[in-house]
């Protein structure tokens, strides 16, 4: 068959190119531009090569922020994933409890991020906040604005409160798609509750859990608004995660070159982790 030439395709392709250019490529290239140059204002640039990248990668400040970021993400995943599965398992499967639970679970997800930050800020204040005051009243010396440990505790608690629901909803959807016959078959076999979970529910939830881990990883790794409102990265730099540190560098100190280099490094870390994680999961998927 002869190939027919059809120029009409351009009509469909060009708008996509333009769209992608405006919302991804051009802003990204601006950042790339900054990362290799020194700016002096008035649109005066000087080529710096990889200097900013080296500076960032070797700086202790970046290592610390990255370390805090990894620790934070790791901790919240460790709490939210099992907790989310646990809550999903205890949720009712039918009856009036279903909509009630679903609405309750969706609530935190609907609250704007800076509102969550502000809420928890007030909630945790040691003098007037319910949480802060109560903790002090029962004998804990709790002050998240002064003590790094308390700041971490509050930030993690806030994130768990805000985002566990997402894991719950995804797990619940995964659990609901398991046909009742599986449970009956397990019952006939005499499988224990744990075995039913381990060998039926968990494998059947694998796909949604992959999605939940990926989403929670990306979101928590890029977290900005909530800790910014809650602690502002403090006390000191205790809760200055990558994006908070980045904004400080870019807008606080106006170090645009290093900040651009850091943005790119940040971006590549997220991309790399997601890619590795996703391909590992998909490899298992193909095998099984």
């Amino acid at each position: 068959m002869n190939k027919t030439i059809n120029q009409k395709a351009w009509f469909f392709v060009v708008p996509v190119f333009v769209l992608v250019a405006f919302n991804a490529a051009i802003p990204l290239m601006t950042v790339v531009n900054y990362s290799f140059q020194e700016t002096f204002g008035n649109n005066v640039f000087a080529w710096e090569g990889t200097r900013w990248f080296k500076q960032i990668l070797l700086s202790e400040r970046f290592h610390d922020a990255l370390g805090r970021q990894i620790a934070f993400t790791f901790i919240i995943l460790l709490i939210q994933i099992p907790l989310g599965i646990g809550i999903a398992l205890t949720m009712p499967k039918k009856g009036w409890g279903v909509p009630v639970c679903l609405i309750l679970m969706s609530m935190p997800l609907l609250i704007p991020w800076n509102v969550v930050g502000a809420m928890w800020n007030i909630f945790a204040l040691p003098d007037i906040g319910f949480l802060g005051y109560s903790l002090n009243a029962i004998g804990f010396d709790f002050n998240f604005t002064q003590q790094p440990g308390d700041a971490w505790f509050t930030t993690i608690l806030m994130d768990v409160w805000h985002w566990t629901s997402l894991v719950v909803l995804l797990s619940y959807a995964g659990l609901n798609s398991i046909q009742p016959a599986y449970y009956q078959a397990a019952e006939i076999d005499g499988a224990s509750r744990w075995a039913t979970f381990r060998y039926i529910e968990l494998p059947k939830m694998k796909k949604v859990l992959t999605l939940a881990i990926l989403l929670r990883f990306m979101d928590s790794f890029m977290i900005y608004t909530e800790p910014f409102v809650l602690t502002g990265g403090g006390p000191g730099n205790a809760t200055a995660f990558l994006s908070i540190d980045l904004v400080k560098m870019a807008l606080g100190q106006f170090d645009l070159g290093p900040a651009a280099a850091m943005s790119l490094i940040y971006f590549f870390i997220v991309l790399l982790v997601c890619w590795v994680f996703y391909s590992l999961m998909m490899k298992n998927e193909v095998k099984s």
Binding site: Q179, Q184, D189, Y199, I200, L202, S288
Partner: protein, 354 residues
């Protein structure tokens, strides 16, 4: 060994799913529960297995009242319409799973799994995971899991419904052989009369939560106690008409088509049931009666032709061998094989057959 339901009734809320039912299944038998979707086949099976408790009545197994006894304490296996296997286990581990839980030693597990796998033609797939298998193989794995246990009661809930035609035929032929030498009671639920005929054994026809008739499959088919049972056990649907008999003349009330008959019933009004394959476009059998029909639909099913036709208020289906081309609206002659008629009295009870 026997399984007996005594006055078993199942209600959910105000709805009755199973009306008080009595049935006794003997050992080494295959019993088909035949009925349409929502007739109550699955509910009955779950009560038999102990997965569900009857609202009233008792379930007896081997002379023991097992009503309310937990399913894992009874030696039961079940195969479902969906292919239910442990997704993260290999075929071998899947088949071995019921044995592992009961603590059979590993040498014996190996031997028994090997045997069952061979029986179900799974030997080459033992190291694969269920989702690497075709639907037919997945269902074979589920069957193997049910068989490996040497259960006293094996329940098959429409096991072939999700398979494509060819696999269904293949597995359906093998099924009765699988249970031949087993000391167990097999219950097989299906919506398809042809399944029941193929499998043989005993059949219970079920409609709307009631067992209409239970007996040897061929008896139920040839001598349905009543019209309902005959309808359940007929696909395509049975053709029904009213007749009057006077002397040796029978006459269709609808259109005065009449024939000479030596059927041994008193004079009077009856209903007749005619299975679609006893109305054909050609003469079959020694005694046929001609009837005119206007073709509604004509469809092919394999190498058979289904012709839906009307004659007055009669709306009938005929099933002929070979490819019979008929146009919609065409007037055609069909032949009814009067030796195969089923006669029902005013209470819809069978009074004579053939």
């Amino acid at each position: 060994m026997s399984l007996e339901l005594k006055n078993v009734e199942k209600k959910v809320g105000i709805e009755t799913h199973i009306y008080p039912t009595n049935i006794k299944l003997e050992k080494n038998t295959i019993n088909v529960l035949l009925g349409s979707t929502l007739a109550g086949k699955t509910t009955l099976m779950q009560i038999m297995a102990g997965l569900d408790k009857p609202t009233n009545g008792e379930v007896w197994f081997n002379g023991e009242n097992v009503t309310g006894k937990q399913v894992q304490k009874r030696n039961v296996s079940m195969v479902y319409q969906q292919f239910i296997n442990y997704p993260s286990f290999t075929v071998y581990e899947n088949i071995a799973s019921p044995l592992k839980i009961t603590g059979v030693n590993s040498d014996e597990i190996k031997e028994r799994v090997g045997k069952v796998a061979e029986l179900l033609k799974l030997s080459a797939m033992l190291n694969k995971k269920p989702d690497e298998l075709s639907g037919g193989q997945q269902q074979r794995t589920a069957l193997a899991r049910a068989l490996v246990k040497d259960s006293d009661l094996i329940l098959l809930d429409e096991p072939l419904a999700n398979l494509d035609f060819k696999l269904r035929e293949e597995l359906r032929e093998e099924l009765p052989k699988l249970f031949e030498d087993r000391e167990c009671i097999v219950v097989y639920a299906t919506t398809e009369p042809s399944d029941a005929l193929m499998i043989g054994g005993n059949t219970a026809t079920i409609l709307e939560g009631k067992i209409i008739q239970y007996g040897k499959t061929l008896d139920v088919y040839n001598k349905p106690e009543n019209l309902t049972s005959a309808k359940v056990f007929s696909d395509p649907p049975m053709n029904i008409a009213e007749i009057s008999k006077s002397g040796d003349i029978c006459k269709l009330t609808e259109n005065n088509v009449q024939w000479k008959s030596n059927v041994k019933i008193k004079d009077g009004n009856y209903k007749i049931g005619i299975r679609p394959h006893n109305i054909t476009t050609y003469k079959e059998g020694n005694n046929t009666v001609e009837i005119n029909g206007k073709v509604l639909i004509s469809e092919l099913s394999g190498s058979e032709s289904l012709i839906h036709f009307t004659n007055g208020n009669l709306n009938w289906v005929s099933l002929s061998n070979g490819i019979q081309q008929k146009n919609i609206g065409e007037n055609t002659k069909l032949f009814m094989n009067i030796d195969e008629f089923l006669y029902f009295d005013e209470n819809n009870r069978l009074v004579n057959h053939g």
